[in-house]
């Protein structure tokens, strides 16, 4: 494990902090900022799945499948925004 989980945890908290600052400074209805926000949260999703859930050790099929599901959900949401 070394320090990988510690780095991931720090990265997750930092991204949470950044996204909260972005949210506070967002003007209403700013689609570009909303998109950036969703991408930041998608990065957190990937970090949890690949490091905490050890998906990085799994067969490529599982890595691609999860990435596909995440991309699909985010793309549809972003298209509606």
């Amino acid at each position: 494990m070394k320090l990988s989980k510690e780095y991931t945890f720090i990265a997750l908290l930092t991204l949470t902090l950044i996204s909260s600052i972005v949210t506070m400074k967002t003007s209403e209805g700013n689609t570009a900022i909303y998109s950036l926000l969703l991408i930041l949260w998608a990065v957190k999703f990937i970090l949890v799945a690949f490091d905490f859930m050890e998906l990085k050790k799994a067969n490529i099929f599982w890595k691609l499948s999860l990435s596909f599901v995440l991309t699909l959900i985010l793309t549809i949401i972003l298209l509606f925004l």
Partner: protein, 193 residues
């Protein structure tokens, strides 16, 4: 304690087992479809969704995010310690994980009671229907995850326990699934609109 070496590169053996991953995908797709419907309705009733979103407490949501991420980190540490045969340390980390879950539930109950007090129930408008459905369904998952964690902790500490590292990974995968769902749900419900 059983110690079997599993080749995770085999397509049939993802970490935690194939069944939990099928559940994770089904859950993500279910929540994903509900979130897409939420955003679709939100764009059609922008003013209603915007005004309703302003009544949500995003700070409480961020605090809950921190609780879930912290408990997820300790869950990962618990699995690592169990694999290293440090059962007492793994048990301590599992208890910290459970504490994170309990704090999440406490904050959520506080948030829900404030909403009920102000009459913001699912009947108010479609925003609140989605809000209650999505967050309460997620909360049920957290409660189930908490029960699984406490049960796993109890069974792994028994003398002659047959708990394997894979059992703890499955338990961890379920708990992390709650993180993943929250990481999709929180920005969409609390931050956009």
């Amino acid at each position: 304690m059983n110690a079997t070496k599993i080749d995770y590169k085999n397509i049939y053996y993802p970490p935690g087992g194939i069944l939990i991953w099928i559940i994770i995908f089904l859950e993500l797709l279910t929540f994903g479809m509900a979130l897409v419907a939420f955003v679709h309705d939100g764009t059609k009733n922008y003013e209603v969704f915007h005004q309703s979103k302003l009544q949500l407490n995003a700070t409480l949501g961020l605090i809950n995010t921190a609780f879930l991420l912290t408990s997820g980190y300790f869950m990962a540490k618990a699995v690592h310690e169990f694999e290293a045969k440090n059962i007492s340390k793994a048990s301590l980390y599992l208890k910290i994980t459970a504490l994170g879950g309990i704090l999440f539930i406490v904050v959520k109950c506080f948030e829900y009671s404030a909403k009920i007090e102000h009459g913001l129930t699912p009947e108010v408008n479609s925003f609140y229907m989605y809000y209650w459905l999505l967050t309460a369904f997620h909360l049920i998952h957290v409660v189930v995850g908490l029960v699984i964690i406490l049960w796993t902790n109890y069974s792994m500490k028994k003398t002659n326990s047959d708990t394997a590292a894979e059992d703890l990974k499955t338990c961890g995968a379920f708990w992390h699934m709650c993180d993943l769902i929250w990481l999709l749900l929180f920005p969409v419900v609390y931050l956009i609109f």
